[in-house]
Symmetry: D2
């Protein structure tokens, strides 16, 4: 698919291990696909906290020197792609402050739909804010005492609960205090969060299970919707939030595109679910063709599934430049006309004279599919039949994936046949919503529902006033610091 | 003298001039001697604010690109040497936040003696703090509404006044809001602050008058102790704070060493006052000698004054490497033995066989005077008589100059004769307190007093509890961001 | 496979196009897999030359600003992984000098086996050398006049020919002079080099054809062994070198691992050849298994070929972290034990309880295969049968791929069964040399031979004295410049 | 004066001291005033060489890490301001190459007037050049064997001599080979170079004696015109060049402005010579005035001399911003009008109502004097009488100080009275040539002559063809590397 701006990955650890920062580093490395804009780790040794964060990929942000300063046995980490808040180190996470009861750090994956209201409350209370990040809002809200400030000791669980009762929207949080690490997931459970344990003792929290394997942790279970988890020296503890319970709404787009294929959600390996999506697609949208190719790398599992179910041989038809990084060099007009070649090239030997099924996982803006179809034809394909392993994306996401506004979504502005013509395919078929949900729910160990609002428009949350308020009271200052 | 860690310089401007940031840049450049650790400028165009700050000298922090982003007709700037708060970009100033009533920025020169108490109040109120800087404390305090929050429009003057009633210690502030620039000076008037106007319209505030000349502004007057100044489009307005009035306590060390020689305080050019200090020193501490030399560059005016009053010819006896920057290269032991040569060299032709009076402005830790005496002897001086144009520094400063703790002050731990022996001088004389105060007050247009606590131990403020509280509730987190 | 240190990619262009540097940038971007250590582009506008090069990936080395300074209608570019010469910007290419006849630039892919002898000749002639790079040797040799210096105009073709008569070993060159671009390939044709033309006029040279598609050029043909090509404003011209002709020796490892799958060598798409290697492997080394998986990404085509030929279903069994960059963070011992997880994770859903064929393209040092086998077992595989689509690598390469010395090659120090035991596979089969050469030669449009010395030990060149001289006269200085 | 672009400083050391690089660092630090554009150090441990150089001030170029890599007991260093060659790291020095006989490094202060001819010879010989620097020319010339290459061992002294016979112009060289350090000074002795010894054994070479004191070395003597010095483990050895002897021509501008006041040339401390220049100026150009002030810092010694001789009291009338660094921020037009204030401010208390003698050391382009006169008037001076302690600069320098071309020299294009009017002074007097030369020669221990061509136009060298050839064969490539 043409990439949405991606969400975030979070990680937390409580372990006697003397190098929790290093463990967090490798966990973030495994979660890099969830956010490439900034990365950070905060640690606590039970007395004081330390933080390092910066713009860039995980491997660029940290050095042995900066990791070395992050001592302690508690850590949280985050890797981020901006959903709200501009691209600036001020918006990088975790966010760390000093409170009456010591340091407090927060890493966040999601999007608060009532952030303007929460910002207003903080500002009215006289708390100045330094960024446009939801994360700062959450951290400052957690700094506010509960029970009219009469708490003797900081009751962090009550504070997290208080925040959850006030907040609307999607969030999976990791929270660092002087002596504990907490995780929390919104009552809808929009964004994933799971628990692992370390063979030598200690527990971890991670957005996706793929990070567990990387750091040698075993998968325990998911954090439930509306659940608060506290990690301490010996175990993990579950606390139920008093926030109103809601219908489970795990983001189906995590299955379709977002999560790493080796992660497990609701008991199912993502790769397997994507193969099933491809199988369902083959059943619904058959094609007379000689080969099945996928858009590398995200659509490869669905393409394999399509090939298996249809009996049409699978092969590779497009190569992808593995060394794509951020280049700020603009192609000239002449080069732009050869466009998608910068990233993909056709494999003529596998395409020449063939009728090709091109499997993609989704179409968002519709900028990529057309050039890919043209590339396949250039590589000699006699016919190109596009099959998409999800329905048309027709609605914006307010739960943490900044896909686009409606007008930018080709599935909102065009019929399927118009899209087919636009991308120049011989035929085009999108998997039905029923087909998608069937493949997703097939082996899920949860009986909860899912959020598929970007396809269906059925948002599991009230969004009244979201639009009106979104820009009001928004952050009106814009600044740059430290370069 | 051997340098104290220095304080800060602040600047503010309100002018229709379309490039107030550039003006602020050159003003900070002129105030560079007051702080070399970090620099920053915040601007407002009446709608939104912009900030750029970073570690380093003014000329290093700003580029045409970063200046270009600082649009508006209002600006404040700061250049800082840490007095409290560690050396980190988080502690760089100005500090800028979003409030209920738009952006709020603060630049600060001084030291709040009740900062721990003020921090505690903020933390209890639920405001998380991100740094150990007084500046953040001040900014968040200004964000708190007055009158129980019932103000319709932000009454910034009342908020600044409210802060001044709560704060103890030394501060000269510049404050930026969406549509105005404010200046304020503590009721003691410890740190200088003056007003200038621009020929083409507009007003400025600056720590020292030397910055006015640099940006083409005319000196108007000083901001008075306990006075709040508001700059608007056409003029400046004076508001009296309701903070308890106090006896004037302008820091006498600004005269002795700190301020630039071309600045004017209390109607007196600093250079002239330093010459008078040298004249008084010659009267009190005569010497039989052939030449008078000063420690370049700060003691040159006093040396000239000493020469004039004593009739002994003035000459230069030491050269100073003009290109001293921050080098992190450590001399080897062999080189260390030749120590002060890295910065100073003797001028043998002016010293050989001569009896020399070496004038210095002050002695703080006593590390520099000894090597300088040795250098003069190496250059051929037959006798070296050290004359200091201020009394022994015996007490720490809590008003914004981080000299040292008592035990590090050679004037606290040693008698004058011990110091003479320590530095290897043939004779040593310190100007008396009376002599110093007489030279300082001679032509002062203010009838206020001065703070000379570092010499006399008479602090113009209650410091009860300062010591006990200083480290309590202090910032217990330590972190690094964006490296 | 476990990666060898890789060779280099070169590019040349002569086009009225006003932005040849930009075209070269995107071509190098497409050749990034051939070298990730440094990149550079040199241009000429017919009067003077310009160069920009630095350490890093292509996208990191160039900015709009640096590209903008590279004006002209001629350009050469290079991206490098050090084969000889240490990792330093001094060894980055192209190498550009001033000669009697204007600027001269050289980009080089390969390894001169008589470089010490050529260095000696230059040093004896009084030419001081600034680096340990073959490229500087070549450039200074080209600067030496032919015919006893009596040439009126620079006869660059004769100079290139003179160099080729003196040089032994592997090289594909691009050469920039004030008014022409040349390409040349050693008489063995070890490293690839091809010609393309641009629809709007102009010609290009590139190490691999994949770069042609990226910049909108059409493939014309390969540069032949021992051939010199001159690009001018309207066409390309072929000149035969007087260097002794040799048997064709295109590197077979380009087919096995090195070249991009979408490149064409000897008329064959690399991806197709790799599929054939997989098919041959299935015929020679069958396995009783449930699924075929490849080591991503390089062994995927061979795995598909194996699956097709064997009838065993193809699937993905390992995921690879796409965001691997250069991290200098070392895993702790605890993390190291979970080792290869940093880069790969198993896909349990596709492995659990299955007998798995794992196809790899080659095994060099043998560090990677063992952990991958363990990962598959951890993912649930009941049996793991490793199949390698090339024979054991037993001999070092002196033609431009710095694999390792013999003692480091597991195929040199161990029998196949020892290797099987070492990597913990249930069975291990390497494709035979006959099988490999058959698959490689199957559709090749060239009747030339190939170099497979790393497998067979049969070097197509005399290497007498290479070992003795390699370190003699080698560069004994080591320095760092510009940080 | 308004600053000329400055020349260079060189340093060499041979000492058993294990940290010669550190010693070289501090020596370059002391020579920083001679060049602020780049700095570098090359070392040898008797086997191999190491080099670090970069753009920037000495303190910026070196870190503990880069110094640490510079091992050995031999070192040369250089700090440079470009006289020829553009501002680029390629032109930074020392220049280090590999030759038949090991590493060879060169640091250079001066300007070869026949550099184009020497470049031509090298290029004809087939040596490609990578920069426009004289230093590369010298190094490659030294690499050429003497005696038709029949030397068995490298005869570096003969090679240096051979170079000196071929070269015209100004040069003070330091040369590093594998096992020795050499110094050489052109037969005119245009640029200074002196020898020192270390108390603990070992010898050094330095452009100015001020660097000796800084590193704890004792002054031994100057290197003579046309002399070659070899430093070895125990001593220094003098070799006479066979280059044609010439009349001594030490640059008089070193006395007037260039050298540090604490350096000794021809047995005279520079500060003392400058005082004498001021005394002579007072005798020739008296003034009725109340105070004497100098342009800080370079004219301060002459102002003290003027005051002493005239009996008019000396004081400071201008302050200089000590923190001037490289700022790339351009003042706005409004600020530009207040111009010189960025660097200087007037001391009103010392000027108000006074008749002022302003002593400057020289006037080159005439851009600075006018604004300074205006500043003094702004500070209240009733009259300003400018006195210059050298004659008008009327001719360009070809011996290593890039002052300006004739048309840019205000002394060439204007009469003294026109200049007086231009700068707005009440009177203007330049010291006569006789007066200057008398003060310079007064105590000189050398009977050699001096070069005062920039004042007199009498060049001690044939410059035939310099102008015609200067641009011919010059470096026609322009490139940027590593950034």
């Amino acid at each position: 698919m043409d990439r949405p701006r991606e969400a975030c990955g979070v990680f937390g650890i409580h372990a006697a291990d003397t190098d929790v920062a290093r463990t967090a580093f490798f966990a973030l490395y495994a979660l890099q696909h969830r956010g490439q804009e900034s990365a950070g780790i905060a640690t606590s040794d039970g007395v004081s906290a330390a933080l390092h964060k910066d713009m860039g990929l995980v491997a660029q942000v940290f050095t042995e020197e900066s990791l070395g300063r992050l001592s302690g046995h508690l850590a949280i980490g985050q890797t981020r792609y901006s959903t709200t808040g501009s691209s600036h180190v001020r918006n990088a996470q975790p966010y760390l402050i000093e409170t009456m009861h010591g340091p407090l750090g927060v890493g966040h994956n999601g999007n608060l739909t009532n952030a303007p209201e929460l910002r207003r409350r903080l500002l009215e209370h006289g708390v100045g804010l330094t960024s446009s990040s939801d994360s700062e809002v959450i951290t400052q809200m957690l700094a506010a005492p509960v029970n009219d400030g009469r708490e003797q000791d900081p009751d962090w669980e009550a504070r997290i609960d208080q925040f959850m009762q006030a907040a609307d929207g999607a969030y999976s949080l990791v929270v660092l205090t002087r002596s504990a690490v907490y995780g929390a997931r919104d009552p809808n459970g929009f964004r994933p969060l799971c628990i692992g344990d370390l063979p030598e003792g200690g527990h971890v929290l991670a957005s996706e299970s793929c990070a567990l394997g990387t750091v040698g942790a075993r998968y325990v279970r998911e954090v439930g919707p509306g659940e608060i988890i506290r990690l301490d020296a010996t175990s993990y503890h579950s606390i139920s939030s008093n926030a109103a319970p809601r219908r489970g709404s795990l983001c189906v787009f995590e299955y379709v595109y977002f999560a790493r294929p080796d992660s497990v959600l609701e008991g199912q390996t993502i790769h397997r679910v994507r193969q099933r999506l491809g199988e369902a697609l083959a059943a619904e949208g058959p094609a007379s063709a000689d080969v099945v190719v996928g858009v590398p790398d995200s659509a490869t599992p669905a393409a394999i599934g399509y090939a298996t179910a249809s009996g049409i041989p699978y092969t590779e038809g497009l190569t992808k430049n593995r060394y794509i990084g951020r280049t700020f060099i603009e192609p000239s007009d002449r080069l732009r006309r050869s466009g998608v070649h910068l990233k993909y090239n056709p494999l003529e030997a596998n395409l020449d004279g063939k009728r090709v099924v091109l499997v993609d996982d989704s179409i968002v803006r519709g900028n990529t599919a057309g050039p890919l179809v043209a590339l396949l034809r250039e590589g000699g394909a006699s016919e190109v039949h596009v099959r998409v392993s999800s329905p048309p994306v027709r609605h914006p996401c307010f739960m943490g994936i900044d896909m686009a506004d409606s007008e930018q979504l080709i599935g909102y502005t065009n019929t399927v046949d118009e899209i087919r013509a636009h991308i120049g395919a011989d035929s085009l078929y999108y998997l039905s919503q029923e087909g998608m949900m069937g493949a997703v729910a097939h082996e899920a160990d949860s009986d909860g529902g899912h959020c598929n609002a970007c396809f269906s428009g059925e948002y599991p949350l009230e969004l009244d006033g979201y639009w009106e308020h979104r820009d009001k009271l928004a952050f009106q200052s814009a600044w740059s610091e430290s370069e």
